[in-house]
Symmetry: C2
Subunit: 362 residues, 2 copies
């Protein structure tokens, strides 16, 4: 039996605590080089579109296996991307496949016999593993008494950054900055109701970083916006992605950890024809945030969790964690946990295993 | 609608002629660097098995897109492999997942909107694209009047090597050598009935290569067995895989083409822990056949088809084609053709597209 699990199924069973626990086990394996991932593959082919905008089909894959969870995972998405100019900046927009919906799937396999266990929509689980990963990093890097959060961003990923941190530290209050007043107020109201602690929308970036113990960036900015001067003694900086922070802010940290360094951070993006240069424009705007940057100068979360690289040693140090690129093995670990919980609750649609099995093999 | 297609469905609709036609179009694109593939990824994690044999879970992925066919393909397999010693040689054996069946799938996407078009069992289609690829090479490399075939191997892949060649040259007769008498006789009988020409089982390798125009190797040998002296003036050598031919035989060819050179030929095989050395044993036995060999010294089939590298110019030259490693884009092209034919005939099982779509995206 192959279990087809929707985002709604995963949301019903997967808690942030489960996610963090699974990732903590996983990063021990990663640090011991027992869980393995192959490099993320980004494959683009340019599309000629009538409106003459830049467009490409984008197939993304990540694959990995975790001996601890006895699972392998293959995650993929298939989209048409465009790169419109918005406010002078080129942004990537993923168009819906059909009916306003996107295609992103995790295939979960048993490593014991190779069978396909589940086909899982990737959206909810992916967001949880991002929040959970930054939380695991904060567990080992933030001051033990860290309780005050300043967060940039009020979107889809911001909430799980906060709920993740609430599992690893006893939070007292939160400040949120987002350029749009309505967004930050809505986010503050929702998080206050979720966590039962004061959540204050603030009107400037400067306010968001004053008197806080953890600064979180949870934006989709492809342009660095957080300067070094925002980082006070003792703070922990938790970044959702690699392009939010100015390079001088990285350098101001006493200790920086990243999610993945080479070779796993290297990814392939294959583009040809005339559109290539145009499609690369986004990359050329901020070269250091992309593949020209040598991530191998920083130790990884796996090394932090296994204590093969040293984390915070004093309360006055500034620490940073950059979730620089996703790791396929996160899906093998959190996917296994979600599958186990969904199976126990009888969720999902059951498909006959034989549909995915063949009596010949190449 | 997502179409679930079995090997039986593909066998009902996909002819060798269709396969070769699709691959001919594809290799034009490959030669022009318009169709793109990412490197094949081989991911192993060692398994502790009670019987203490070498074993690993093996996740293999290939991905590609073809603008001509407006498709992208992601092919994957999930197996447990063992490496038993057989007759003094270490061979790789893929264990069935369950019920004596294996797991190998091609996901076919539309590049126009990203949607999943089909989930296709990979066995039959894979064998056809291998036979078809060697046939496309022979179309451009073998002498125009080549009609006599000598083939090594009588297994699963040997038949499609022959039917492929029969589409690109007018065949007169075939000799088949295989160490087991019963196997070569059965193969000869079956091919004679399929093609309606004489097919002679022969008792020695030397007989198989005498007075023939095309020598085909279609074995699963991981050890080179074909020496240079087997290659007479004017012959075309067509190899199913890279490890069948002694290096001196490659060197005896006046012209050698391969399927894929770097970077696409590079593949990742990630192994850790104590079992690593043992699992690598197969690779260490024949290092030049694997990734230490620099394939970039040879031009590719894409260059041959687009005439950006020169093929046969005289009847006396010895030519060779080595299907050194599979190319993901073959599945985008042949998969598109098979899907189109199956759709027209109403084959397969229809699944609701919405099962694979989500209203959020990471």
């Amino acid at each position: 039996m192959v279990l087809l699990l929707s985002n709604a199924d995963i949301e019903r069973v997967l808690t942030m605590k489960d996610t963090i626990d699974a990732l903590d086990v996983l990063y021990r394996e990663v640090g011991k080089r027992e869980a393995v991932s192959f490099p993320r593959q980004d494959l683009h082919v340019p599309l000629a579109r009538p409106e003459k905008e830049l467009a490409a089909h984008y197939l993304k894959t990540m694959g990995a296996a975790s001996p601890a969870f006895k699972t392998a995972a293959l995650r993929f998405s298939s989209d048409v991307c465009t790169w419109p100019l918005m406010g002078g900046l080129r942004r990537r927009v993923k168009l819906p496949v059909k009916n306003g919906k996107w295609l992103g799937i995790i295939l979960l396999f048993s490593t014991l016999n190779g069978e396909l266990l589940a086909i899982i929509q990737d959206g909810y689980l992916s967001r949880m593993r991002v929040g959970g990963t930054n939380a695991v990093a904060a567990r080992y890097l933030a001051r033990k008494d860290a309780s005050r959060i300043g967060i940039f961003g009020s979107g889809w990923q911001a909430a799980t950054q906060i709920t993740g941190l609430s599992e690893v530290r006893k939070l007292q209050n939160i400040k949120v900055y987002s350029p749009t007043q309505m967004h930050r107020e809505k986010f503050a109201s929702e998080m206050k109701s979720t966590l039962g602690i004061p959540v204050l929308p603030v009107e400037s970036p400067e306010e968001a970083v004053q008197d806080v113990d953890i600064i979180v960036t949870a934006t989709n900015s492809r342009q660095p916006f957080l300067p070094a001067r925002y980082l006070s003694k003792g703070v922990h900086l938790s970044c959702l992605q690699r392009s939010e922070i100015e390079l001088e802010a990285y350098n101001r940290c006493d200790i920086v950890f990243i999610n993945v360094n080479s070779p796993e951070a290297n990814y392939t993006s294959t583009l040809f024809t005339e559109q290539e240069k145009a499609l690369n424009m986004e990359v050329r705007d901020h070269p250091w945030t992309y593949k020209n940057f040598d991530w191998s100068i920083y130790p990884t979360l796996g090394q932090l969790v296994t204590q093969t690289a040293i984390g915070r040693t004093t309360d006055s140090q500034i620490t940073g964690f950059i979730n620089n690129i996703g790791l396929g093995a996160q899906f093998a670990a959190v996917g296994a946990k979600a599958y186990e919980l969904a199976l126990r609750k009888g969720l999902g649609i059951q498909l006959d295993s034989d549909l995915f099995l063949e009596d010949i093999h190449p």
